[in-house]
């Protein structure tokens, strides 16, 4: 039972027979999925370019010798396997290339990209996951004693998606910041709490997360943020992954770092 090339290039569930090897190219990452007698082999390689646009599929591929291989016991050789994207397992921090200043009463919508993870699932069971590109770690906190270990984004925040290419290994987050204080707000860097967000895909294939809304008021030292609505992309949005962290449906307070002038 083989699938067509078009079906196999998309995220989703695939039938993989014994002694078959499929290969996916997802941006900077290459993934081989092989089913042998009694085992499933997942081989992973990543390139140096996190913004790679490569997206492809190759049936009857050959596993490379220089990849990182993980083997799993396979007790159900006919069970289909899913190759799906997921958001990063930590928050991501975007340091804006240029300082962004919001005067009192102003608001801005920024688009922030983040590298996705690729997961291999056997039904609901997660077999394997890896980042499509290994991100640099960074610290987000007021000082080195308390804070959170995050990933550093290698992109700046954009004000529009017009010039943004659809990258198979990246998800976009629309972040709306509103300055309701009486002083100007300097946005230095932004933390996007990916663990609390759903992942969507629009009809062009672009990956999106839920929107985030943030407010700065005179009463708070930091921005008050909450998870917003479904993103608006091209055509219909399909939710393809739930948040990694269990959160309530009520307002979820998260954190951004910014300074008032």
């Amino acid at each position: 039972m083989s699938e067509t090339r078009e079906e196999l290039t998309t995220w989703g569930t695939h039938s993989l027979g014994v002694d078959q090897t499929y290969k996916w190219e997802i941006g900077p990452c290459s993934l081989w999925l092989a089913r042998k007698k009694g085992e499933i082999r997942v081989t992973y390689k990543s390139s140096d370019d996190p913004f790679a646009l490569t997206s492809g599929f190759e049936p009857d591929a050959v596993e490379p010798e220089d990849g990182k291989t993980t083997r799993f016991v396979d007790e159900a050789p006919t069970a289909p396997l899913s190759v799906v994207p997921a958001l990063a397992d930590r928050a991501i921090v975007v340091r804006l290339a240029d300082l962004l200043v919001l005067m009192p009463g102003q608001s801005v919508q920024l688009f922030v990209g983040s590298q996705v993870w690729v997961q291999v699932r056997n039904g609901k069971q997660l077999l394997y996951e890896a980042p499509t590109f290994e991100l640099s770690q960074t610290w987000f906190g007021a000082d080195t004693r308390s804070g959170e270990l995050c990933y550093a984004s290698r992109t700046q925040a954009y004000l529009s998606t017009d010039d943004l290419l659809v990258r198979p290994a990246r998800a976009l987050t629309a972040l709306t910041i509103r300055n309701q204080a009486s002083s100007a707000l300097e946005v230095v860097r932004v933390k996007v709490p990916l663990g609390h967000l759903d992942l969507y895909q629009d009809q062009s294939g672009r990956l999106w997360t839920q929107n985030i809304r943030a407010r700065w008021t005179d009463d708070n030292d930091e921005l008050t943020t909450e998870v917003g609505d479904e993103p608006r992309g091209e055509g219909k949005m399909t939710r393809i992954a739930e948040p990694r962290l269990a959160t309530t449906r009520l307002r979820r307070a998260l954190g951004l770092l910014a300074g008032g002038r």
Partner: protein, 274 residues
């Protein structure tokens, strides 16, 4: 059959009245010890999810020892022992024990203070004096460390309280400091750029706090610099080793070699004829 047994026991107790005292006394002791065990287990189960492991242990032992002493006192009273005699002897004994156990008492009290202050917990890596190791247990009188070469070191609590302790793993991130010397003729800004590129290339070196390049002064044959990069505490050793190797390679590739100590020797001209 049961009735016959009970009749035989009654006859026995009537014949030897002291046997009744002994039997009931022993039953009381056994009952008291069992109660002490049960209550200490209940205390342990109730506390283990609420407080730390060492606090649970202290509370459990307190309950158990208190009930055991109470059982012993009640048993002695039941057997007719005059406790007022013991009270007098206890006073003398207390003074003697006090002198003999002042170190233990100090360790015990130091342990209580340490538990309250919590400068470290089980699992932390601490440095005290010349000893560095992972804390494997915090007991009433001492703590135990496992050194990196797998030795067990026991340190009395009193020593801990009086000493300077460095908790290596208290905070989630640590800074790696690499001290090196660069030749005088080296372009320092170029060296700085090369080193920062090495740190940025390593995903486990944190982007923020940003790596730091600092000149420390001029040595005899070199410029002394310090290059610092931050990493998560669990990656400290591996990232430090990797940085040493990568920095050396990057500097060599950039044409910057580590200087050797050198001397300029000036010889007087001895060929001049008079």
């Amino acid at each position: 059959m049961m009735n016959e047994l009970l009749e035989k026991i009654s006859t026995l107790l009537a014949t030897w009245p002291w046997l009744k005292t002994v039997v009931f006394g022993l039953l009381g002791v056994v009952g008291g010890l069992v109660l002490a065990k049960v209550l200490s287990s209940m205390t342990q189960n109730a506390l283990k999810r609420r407080v730390s492991a060492q606090q649970t242990m202290i509370a459990t032992r307190l309950v158990r020892y208190s009930l055991t002493v109470l059982t012993a006192v009640m048993a002695l009273h039941f057997f007719g022992v005059d406790l007022s005699v013991l009270a007098g002897a206890a006073g003398v004994l207390t003074v003697a024990i006090g002198f003999a156990s002042q170190t233990s008492a100090s360790n015990l009290i130091s342990g209580l203070f340490l538990m309250g202050e919590q400068p470290f917990v089980v699992g932390d890596v601490i440095q005290i004096g010349q000893t560095t190791g992972e804390v494997i247990s915090i007991d009433l009188l001492s703590i135990r460390l496992r050194t990196y070469d797998n030795l067990m070191v026991r340190i009395p609590n009193e020593t801990i309280l009086k000493s300077e302790i460095t908790n290596v793993t208290h905070f989630p991130i640590r800074r790696i400091d690499i001290f090196l010397g660069l030749p005088f003729e080296c372009d320092l800004s170029e060296a700085e750029t090369l080193m920062e590129a090495v740190a940025h290339k390593n995903p486990r070196c944190l982007e923020e706090p940003a790596p730091l390049f600092a000149c420390l002064g001029y040595g005899e044959s070199q410029v002394n610099v310090r290059f610092s990069a931050w990493t998560a505490k669990e990656n400290f050793l591996s990232v430090r080793n990797q940085l040493y190797a990568d920095l050396k390679a990057a500097l060599s590739e950039g044409g910057i070699e580590f200087p050797y100590p050198h001397r300029v020797v000036i010889q007087p001209n001895t060929t001049q004829k008079g």
